[in-house]
């Protein structure tokens, strides 16, 4: 157990007590806490109740909150998300679980045409405070239909918000923020990170949507990441530091809203930027960030914006192929070196 100072500005505040928790446990704790504070929050999905979710995201919730608030449903994602939309439109705060993000394909209408648009097309009369949780990302040998990072499918749709927690701390803070938010929010848990451990405050807290995390400061090059690319970028930055290069690492945490301001501020100092993500490079968040950078801080650039994503192929199965598919620390470091070679 670790006790952190709450900050000199508030000496009277109780110290923040943290423990090391896994990413999935931190998520679970945040969800349980927000369910305790708001009786309108319920969880529905396939095997979320009795089984606790295939990744144990919902362990213990049935026991504490009962079958009224933790609801097993048929494998019917369209009806499941629709149930969430209808309940949210009536003022409840549903958390519906899609298990694997790839299953978006069978319920996209309710996500994109219903949840996302309802507030706008109904003239502001309806809010849809719906949270969709799902597991994303490659690395478990789950192959093409259980490994995708589809954040940009969703970030492209006005009305949706998309979170990609990269640490146990953010897994808890973002699920709390998502459930409390008034709009539909998709929380993408990264499958490789589920067992990762980190310091997590005991109390309930929010990680605000649309606020990037400057993980590591540096003036030579900026590395922008989402999801588990954060850890790879930190390792790349440590390696670069051994050769005297100081890389700044920015974890976006949410791709919609996008905290472009933090990225632009960094690029104004470093003049070089690499964006790393698991999704395919084509049309990825890197493309959007590159466009916004050239639009707003073009004169600060000493090198073209470098995007590092997956090649334009489905996620492969064989471990050797899958490893080659997802960007890693080595490729991020090599990319940074290429950027630094430009004078």
């Amino acid at each position: 157990m670790t006790t952190l100072s709450a900050g000199s500005a508030a000496p009277a505040a109780a110290p923040v007590v943290t423990r090391r928790l896994t990413y999935v446990k931190a998520f679970n704790e945040g969800l349980a806490q927000v369910m305790r504070e708001d009786a309108d929050v319920f969880v529905a999905g396939e095997d979320v109740a009795g089984y606790g979710g295939v990744f144990h995201m919902f362990d213990g919730l049935l026991g504490e909150f009962g079958p009224r608030r933790v609801v097993d449903t048929p494998i019917a994602e369209m009806a499941l998300v629709g149930l969430g939309v209808g309940a949210a439109a009536r003022g409840l705060r549903p958390v519906v679980d899609l298990m694997f993000m790839d299953f978006l394909g069978v319920c996209l209408d309710q996500v994109v045409n219903q949840a996302a648009k309802m507030k706008y097309m109904y003239g502001g009369a309806v809010s849809v405070p719906l949270t969709i949780t799902t597991a994303s990302g490659a690395g478990l040998g789950a192959a093409a239909q259980h490994s995708q990072s589809l954040e940009m499918w969703l970030a492209h749709i006005p009305g949706l918000k998309v979170c990609m927690p990269a640490t146990p701390h953010d897994a808890k803070g973002l699920i709390v923020a998502a459930v409390r938010d008034g709009d539909p929010v998709v929380v993408m848990l990264n499958k490789v990170l589920l067992g990762a451990k980190g310091e997590v405050p005991e109390e309930i807290y929010e990680v605000p949507l649309g606020k990037a995390d400057v993980v590591r400061g540096g003036d030579d090059v900026t590395i922008v990441t989402v999801g588990r690319m954060r850890d790879e970028a930190v390792r790349a930055a440590e390696e670069l530091a051994r050769t005297g290069v100081q890389a700044e690492v920015i974890d976006l945490r949410t791709v919609q809203p996008l905290d472009i301001g933090t990225v632009l501020e960094s690029v104004r100092r470093t003049n070089r930027v690499l964006v790393a993500h698991e999704a395919v490079t084509f049309g990825g968040i890197g493309a959007e960030i590159a466009a916004q950078i050239q639009d707003q801080v073009f004169d600060h650039l000493d090198a073209p914006v470098l995007r590092l994503g997956a090649p334009f192929a489905p996620v492969p199965f064989a471990p050797v192929l899958e490893k080659a598919y997802v960007p890693d620390a080595e490729r991020i470091a090599a990319g940074c070196r290429r950027l630094l070679e430009r004078k």
């Binding site: 009224r68 009806a79 209408d109 309710q110 706008y120 003239g123 309806v126």
Partner: protein
């Protein structure tokens, strides 16, 4: 061809205040839609218009069996449902014109009219999409234990889409108070029922999910009302969902008044259904059963006509939305922010 006329058993007929109310709801729909069709033909309305004329007995019969606090979800052909649930003409016409004073402030148009204050959770441009949402609305009623039910309206065509099957099964296993109201008008857009499904009765799909079903003559508003009441009672008392199929007909084309003039229906068929017009039948019934006089009926038409003329005038006089302030309004509840990357 239309089903044979059924004469509802007088003994179980609802009281005059109910039957007159059902009739008035039908007249309101008919006149609203007829005038909307005229405006469309005159080129005064932007967008699409899916008129409900011919099917009035279904919306009026079902809605009169619901409490004001019950919820409905609707379809692309949603004006009738909104009106029967109590939506106001002014805001409806204003929305058809795309005005700032419309139900959606010009963000939605004909296919997105909604009024949460009367339990109208919205028309919907996606076929079948309202069913899962109604399941969620019913879930909320059970969650809150408020005794409410939800009715999902959809057509024969929607009974082929996955959302229908998922939603009906979900409501069945969760035993939710939902009335799935299939308005079988015989056509999925321009495709006849026999060409889009093999079962003659959509209601039989209830058997696959273990829920109650009923088929009713959708041109007989009293019969629809009584059938809806049975389904609502079942739902409210914990008996789970019902699939209620009303056999009905739309007089206008799938979209607009004259549509694409695709010869997918015969004049003989259209005339046979119009000969059993639901409003004509209801008016004869009211007079025969002493629930209303011809003068009472005329008075309903007259006052509705006046209300509609006033509402259209209001809508036309209303201001357009302002692109500077209204374009980005209501995308999010909190924080639209600097996320768009627009260079503006």
């Amino acid at each position: 061809m239309p089903p044979a006329t059924t004469d509802p058993v007088t003994a179980q007929a609802p009281p005059a205040e109910v039957t007159r109310d059902v009739h008035e709801r039908m007249v309101r729909i008919r006149l609203f839609e007829t005038e909307a069709g005229r405006l469309m033909e005159a080129g005064r309305l932007p967008g699409f218009l899916h008129l409900y004329v011919g099917q009035e007995a279904v919306a009026a019969g079902v809605m009169s069996a619901l409490a004001d606090t019950d919820q409905i979800t609707s379809t692309h052909r949603g004006h009738g449902h909104a009106i029967a649930k109590g939506a106001r003409f002014r805001e409806m016409y204003a929305e058809l014109f795309g005005k700032a004073t419309g139900y959606c402030h010009g963000h939605g148009g004909s296919m997105h009219i909604n009024d949460l204050s009367i339990g109208m959770l919205g028309a919907n441009g996606i076929v079948g999409a309202g069913l899962p949402i109604a399941v969620g609305a019913a879930f909320a009623s059970v969650y809150r234990d408020d005794g409410g039910v939800a009715a999902a309206f959809f057509g024969d065509g929607a009974s082929n889409i996955g959302a229908f099957h998922e939603a009906v099964n979900m409501a069945a296993v969760l035993r939710l108070p939902v009335i799935f109201v299939c308005e079988n008008n015989g056509y999925a857009e321009f495709t006849a029922q026999a060409d889009h499904m093999l079962l003659p009765d959509v209601a039989d799909r209830a058997d696959a999910y273990g829920i109650a079903k009923e088929i009713v003559d959708g041109m007989d508003a009293v019969a629809v009302h009584l059938a809806a009441r049975r389904a609502v009672d079942r739902a409210r008392s914990g008996g789970g969902p019902t699939l209620l199929e009303a056999k009905t007909y739309r007089y206008y084309d799938h979209q607009g008044v004259k549509g694409l003039r695709i010869p997918y229906r015969t004049q003989e068929e259209i005339d046979a259904w119009k000969a059993r017009d639901a409003i004509d039948a209801m008016e004869s019934w009211l007079v025969e059963h002493g629930h209303a006089t011809r003068e009472d009926i005329d008075a309903v038409w007259d006052r509705t006509r006046r209300e509609i003329a006033e509402a259209i005038e209001y809508a036309e006089r209303s201001p357009d939305p302002d692109p500077d302030t209204d374009l980005l309004r209501d995308v999010y509840t909190t924080g639209n922010a600097n996320t768009t990357g627009d260079a503006s």
